[in-house]
Amino acid sequence: MPTPDIADAPHWPVVHTIGVDGMLISFSDTLDEAANRAALAFREALEDAGLQGVLETSTSLASVYLRFDLRAADHKVMRSALDAMLRQNDWYETPLPSGRTLWRVPAVFGTDLAPQLDEAAAMAGLSPDQAIAALCAAPLRVQAIGFAPGQPYLGQLPPEWDLPRQTGLTPQVPEGALAVAIRQMVLFSVSTPTGWRHVGQTALPLFRPDQPEPFTLRPGDDVQFVAVTREEFENIRRNDALGGATSQAAN
């Protein structure tokens, strides 16, 4: 981000207003693990603090959003409460929130179900098999849930996956599509157009409004993909409401 004037150069974290009744606490302007962790931890602390007038909080990749009731609180009071909380801790050093889950999610990579694997692999300088191994090598963090209901941004992939988005949009990827760009993967919760490259396909439902737990993943969870064949995938899709996903407590 360009800084038009050195005096404007931010000292992280920085607090901005969002709309008339919102605040955004940003821990970085680039995606990094520490800033993501800081955002998750600070939101948890905010929820616990129960500041008067706060209506809702959420996180995005490196920031926390807070909305408050303008008739129950004002900006000055809210701002000083946030500043005090920010000073209490080195938020970049705080551990991840408790109660996280590690998910193992079967995915088919490539084939007609995920037609851009070869293209993305080539851009990352890998063979398709190397690409699949790399994408399944380790758990990816749910760095944020956003854009659409239950939709995770997963990261962070190694530097060779810093692929730009396509200039044109893929008109439609199906629900469960796994797409890659800018060292992240997105697992789409609804069928949507996208500029990210469609490299894998899962059958993991992310948003089930009629269930007691409508959202499958939470920010801070870990997701590890397990490559399966197209046949195995079709079998899972037919027979398993959770798309073959298994979960256990994350460390």
Binding site: M1, S60, A144, I145, G146, A148
Partner: protein, 339 residues
């Protein structure tokens, strides 16, 4: 159970209430009525809670039939409303008898609402009855759909009020976003001096605006880390056209936002007809807070702004019948009463 049955159903008709709060962290935006003020107005007219669900009509048409006596209120963008062929006044509440047919047409755009005494008793999902089309929650209504109504604890109808003026476009006030200053002062000034109109392409997620002349933008190649976005945010997308986010917007985004329309001015945007001029002006955060608090207080007082709906005798086709009912006298009695 009191039911309404839909006969002629245009596009863009959904069940709406105040939406679902509290799911932003899971990627689900609040949704709810595009013009939330209209919901408050309908609730005031029927003396019932604002949370009850109503029908939202997005610049379309609708005919429905009620199975039992029902109180209704008509708010939002005015339409031609007929009850069994007789004209009903908009921005008012009315009694419909059992079996009555309500025909609504002639929208100039924007969002119109039909509220029912007791509200629409559609299934609750995640704390609301609203259709959230972007999230695949609920759906647009179609011909032959039947909707149940909740129990109506009120009885009063025949009330009206003067709605907040918002059906002809006008000025939309903005506060700055974290990215406003990434637009050059010249861009920002030009933005506030430009006349915009609504693009025909719009939905409950957002409204694209068009203008003559150049588009708007920050320095090329700028990428902003995706962060929380809110209804009213004006994204400047790749083509330079402003895109105002509405109730069903995505929860996060990475396009630069030049400003955020005040919530109290959003009804003026969503209710502007296609031919209406729209302008923007920045206000300070302090002024915005004052305006929002004043509007919240005004909405709380909507019930006290109601007045009885006085029918103009020229609008009553069976005027003679009314006179007969009230005027069956022998003349001498009348003289006696007046004495």
């Amino acid at each position: 159970m009191r039911m309404i049955k839909l006969h002629r159903v245009g596009p863009g008709i959904t069940v709406q209430d105040t939406g679902r709060e509290g799911w932003l962290s899971q990627g689900l935006s609040r949704g709810g009525a595009a013009d939330r003020l209209a919901l408050a107005e309908g609730a005031a007219l029927l003396h019932q809670p604002t949370e009850l669900a109503a029908l939202e009509i997005a610049g379309s048409f609708l005919s429905l039939e009620v199975s039992a006596p029902v109180r209704i209120a008509l708010t939002g963008a005015p339409m031609r409303a007929l009850c069994d062929g007789e004209a009903l006044v908009w921005h008012s509440s009315h009694d419909l008898p059992a079996g009555a047919r309500l025909d609504l047409s002639g929208s100039e755009g924007g969002y119109s609402y039909v509220h029912f005494g007791g509200g629409i008793d559609a299934a609750m999902t995640l704390g609301a009855r609203s259709a959230h089309l972007a999230a695949n929650l609920g759906r647009m209504l179609t011909k032959q759909d039947s909707l149940a109504l909740g129990p109506d604890s009120g009885s009063r109808a025949g009330m009206t009020f003067t709605p907040l003026s918002r059906f002809n476009g006008g000025l939309l006030r903005l506060v700055e976003t974290p990215q406003t200053k990434l637009f050059s002062p010249a861009q920002r000034t030009r933005f506030t001096q430009t006349t915009f109109r609504k693009d025909a392409r719009a939905n409950r997620m957002g409204q694209r605006l068009v203008c003559t002349g150049k588009g708007f933008g920050t320095d090329t190649g700028l990428s902003i880390l995706s962060e929380t976005i809110v209804p009213g945010d004006i994204q400047i997308t790749g083509d330079g056209a402003p895109f105002v986010l509405l109730s069903e917007c995505q929860t996060t985004g990475g396009y630069p936002r030049i400003g955020t329309v005040l919530p109290c001015d959003l009804p003026r945007l969503v209710q502007a007809p296609a031919h209406a001029d729209l302008h923007f002006a920045f206000v300070s955060l302090e002024d915005a807070v004052t305006l929002e608090r004043a509007e919240a207080d005004r909405r709380d007082g909507l019930r006290s702004a109601l007045r009885p709906l006085i029918r103009n005798p020229h609008d009553i086709p069976d005027l003679l019948a009314y006179q007969l009912v009230s005027g069956v006298t022998r003349g001498d009695e009348l003289e006696g009463k007046e004495a």
